[in-house]
Symmetry: C2
């Protein structure tokens, strides 16, 4: 089906409704919000095979991957619902008054309250987990915010089906009209109108640097600037440390051939940069990685736009001076498939050419051959912000190279040891986000229940009598949540 772009007038109506819904929904209890989120999870399951088949057609992603991604999306909704109800994220805090102090210390109690309507832009590479009912939507609902999703043009039917599931859940849970709206817009003007609307109070985005940075700029140029949480991908550097590389060059090569080509390289955590110190071990690694890549079959990418961008960006990288092709898949590439490819360059070439820091979205990685550890440290220090960085290292490698460890720690949101960056576990301790340009605000992440905090702000109640306070801050603590009372964490009543 063809969906018409929403007009500016239609968007204004949508935002008016969302604003109205906000004033009702933000008073709903944590339990009511959690019930709504869990109901969405059930409706997603109820969409059955039809949803999976629709997504398969629109995204070229294989069935098993999509079933797994839906299960993950359901898990996100349910686990963030539990976190919502548990209320640790509210950061409730109580300082009791001291009336006989000079001047008297008033009773002050603080908790997080929702920001307002949140606009969510879905990702093409995650039609479920980072799209219509994905992490941003779940976090916004938990925080107490209505959501407006702009459907990703690459999977509108999938998005429509998920949107309907959300609306069914909303009706079953008697949510206010406007709690969720699904907006179509292939033209960027729709996105712009959503971001600059005065009733929009925050934005969630997963996608390219150019897209995310544009939303960020629009958000900041408003009369009332708003936070724009854009996760814009990265090249996820992997450092091969000497002792580890010497003992495991082949194992690492096989492991990384898998990670680089997983999902046809269409993950924002894809390892696009591998850095080692030149020598026999690194040459073995490059050779073995090349061999493994040659044997990896090309597969369909998400859509023709992604394929052309992959070809263009990879071609551009390979054309740079002193960049050499190591290997490509030996299987002939068919239409809309991404050809697994490995390149290599010296440390000096990398340091002198910022093009090599640009993400090539797809099954591609470049191996950087440093002449020694000081050059590897120099490479680490030259890197922009990253979602993840990985060390393949023995314990000696770590303890003997503190400067490298610290330099790498300083540029990433997630620091992995002897593992691959692909595969982002959904749990509270996950950090998916990193220093700019990996994301626009390194102080928050888009995976795990801490993402709820993106859409809330603290409010302090001063001198309110107990019965007029929100339940979360009343002496009795009937909700049984954790609170900091006079600087001590406790679940006790006052």
């Amino acid at each position: 089906m063809n969906y018409k772009d929403f007009s500016v007038e239609e968007i204004d109506i949508v935002m008016q409704q969302a604003w109205h819904a906000f004033h009702i929904y933000r008073k709903f209890s944590l339990t009511q919000r959690a019930a709504f989120m869990k109901a969405i999870a059930i409706e997603l399951e109820n969409c059955g095979d039809t949803l999976i088949h629709t997504a398969m057609q629109e995204t070229n992603l294989p069935e098993a991957r999509l079933r797994g991604e839906r299960a993950r999306t359901i898990f996100q909704l349910n686990s963030y619902a539990e976190a919502c109800e548990k209320g640790i994220w509210l950061a409730a805090s109580i300082d009791t008054g001291i009336p006989d102090k000079t001047p008297p210390k008033p009773d002050i109690r603080k908790m997080l309250v929702p920001l307002g309507p949140v606009v969510v832009f879905g990702a093409s590479n995650f039609p479920f987990a980072y799209s219509t009912a994905g992490g941003d939507t779940a976090c916004a609902f938990a925080a107490g915010c209505p959501v407006i999703v702009k459907a990703h043009p690459a999977h509108v039917e999938t998005s429509e089906m998920v949107a309907k599931a959300i609306l069914v859940a909303a009706e079953k849970c008697q949510m206010p009209k406007g709690i969720f709206t699904h907006v179509h817009g292939a033209n960027f003007e729709v996105g712009k109108a959503l971001v600059i609307h005065p009733y929009t109070k925050a934005v969630g985005f997963t996608g390219s640097y150019s897209g995310g940075k544009q939303l960020f700029d629009w958000g900041n140029q408003r009369k009332e600037p708003i936070p724009v949480f854009a996760e814009m991908g990265s090249i996820n550097p992997v450092f091969l440390l000497p002792e580890k590389l010497k003992s495991s060059a082949n194992d690492i090569a096989v492991l990384y051939a898998g990670s680089i080509t997983l999902g046809v390289g269409q993950f924002c955590t894809n390892p696009g940069l591998i850095i080692g110190i030149d020598g026999d071990a690194l040459q073995t690694f490059i050779h073995d990685l090349g061999k493994a890549i040659q044997k990896t079959e090309p597969a369909l990418m998400l859509h023709s736009g992604i394929v052309s961008a992959y070809k263009k960006n990879k071609g551009h990288a390979l054309l740079q001076e002193d960049v050499h092709l190591v290997a490509e898949s030996e299987t002939m590439v068919e239409e809309n498939q991404g050809l697994p490819t490995i390149a290599t360059a010296s440390g000096q070439t990398f340091l002198n050419n910022p093009v090599l820091q640009q993400e090539v979205f797809g099954p591609y990685s470049i191996v950087i051959r440093c002449k020694d550890m000081p050059e590897m440290i120099e490479v680490a220090k030259s890197l922009e912000g990253q979602l993840s960085s990985t060390f393949m290292a023995t314990e000696n490698d770590i303890t003997e190279n503190d400067e490298l460890v610290e330099a790498v720690k300083n540029i990433c949101g997630r620091f992995i040891l002897n593992n691959v960056p692909t595969g982002v576990e959904v749990c509270l301790s996950m950090q998916h986000g990193g220093p700019f340009p990996a994301s626009t605000d390194s102080r928050f992440g888009s995976v795990g229940a801490d993402g709820i905090k993106r859409f809330a702000r603290p409010i302090a109640f001063q001198n309110w009598s107990n019965n007029l306070l929100p339940d979360e801050l009343k002496n009795e603590n009937t909700l049984g949540i954790w609170r900091t009372v006079n600087n001590e964490l406790t679940k006790e009543a006052l």
Copy 2:
């Protein structure tokens, strides 16, 4: 003494040193950071009367106020140091691995790490508590960040003395060179050079809207945008609800005459807007407030620039159509003094004229006479973001006017009941900050130890062995800090 503005080249050297210091200081333990902060508190005390007298000369603030403010600054340093060591702000979180899950769940552990060098712009109205060794500086040191303070041109000597105290403490605690630098700059180019320097990773500011918004824009227009936390003041609306007003018009008038003129009205929490429903009780209030203001003596403001701005902005407000002068102090105003003044206007006049929402920094307030409760709600909904809002109300007033309560809650960072907004208690539950334009990021505040979080970001460690992890995340929990382990808050070891 005359201090020369720093050149762009000098600022580059300062930032290089701060960047170098960052890599050393961020590895310092929480205890080491806390010891440094406590040492600064001791050195501030050691500055003795000389510091107070210097500040009196530069700011025209009275001795008792300045002694109180220094004591508050010392309390901030000591209490944030305790919070730093306690480590709740680190939001440490552990998800233990499940190797036999499909796919295996890796061990993931998360905590906050410092952002990097922080540039602090002090406030003219708080030469100690929001300046050189003020809240922003204390929070940045606690987070693990070096600090560069740009001295406020209105109190350079005071700032110099405090800076020297910090440097003495730094030497005693063996802090790295560059941990703190004091920069002079009367010209805005100095501030700009500091904000746009690539090694600056965050900015703290307290002052005017025009100043704060400019820093915010510079911060966001960088190649790598950085967070700029600007607290830009507000008009702190006070709502007089019918039942309370009827019973206590005179008491409220006396209380607020004191709050409006406290410190010659030079607080960002000064109540610049009072809203009631017209009738006998409000007329009594206006009359009594006017009487009290007439009897209040004018006093010296901070400097001549503040006095001229006060006269200009107040004059502009009083010239607006249908705005009437209620009363001024009867005492003749002398040079550099601020004349206490009360004006009034109708609800419709306020709703039609955005000029009346502009802050008049000084001992001035305008009383808005609404024709009924719906108009009062309309006024509340028309307000921009505020640091604080206040209700003077009985319990009935609150429970019967839910729409007003919710509208007001939605625009402020602190919601006060039957109290005055002036006087910001330093404690964890305080929120000093609010929706834009009260501050640039409503999700954070600049008073209380939660302000530390402004200068830190989460990092997740995936699959690291216990002995290689930071102490905060090791199984043993030798620091005894609170951590969320598999979604449960605990101080226990694993």
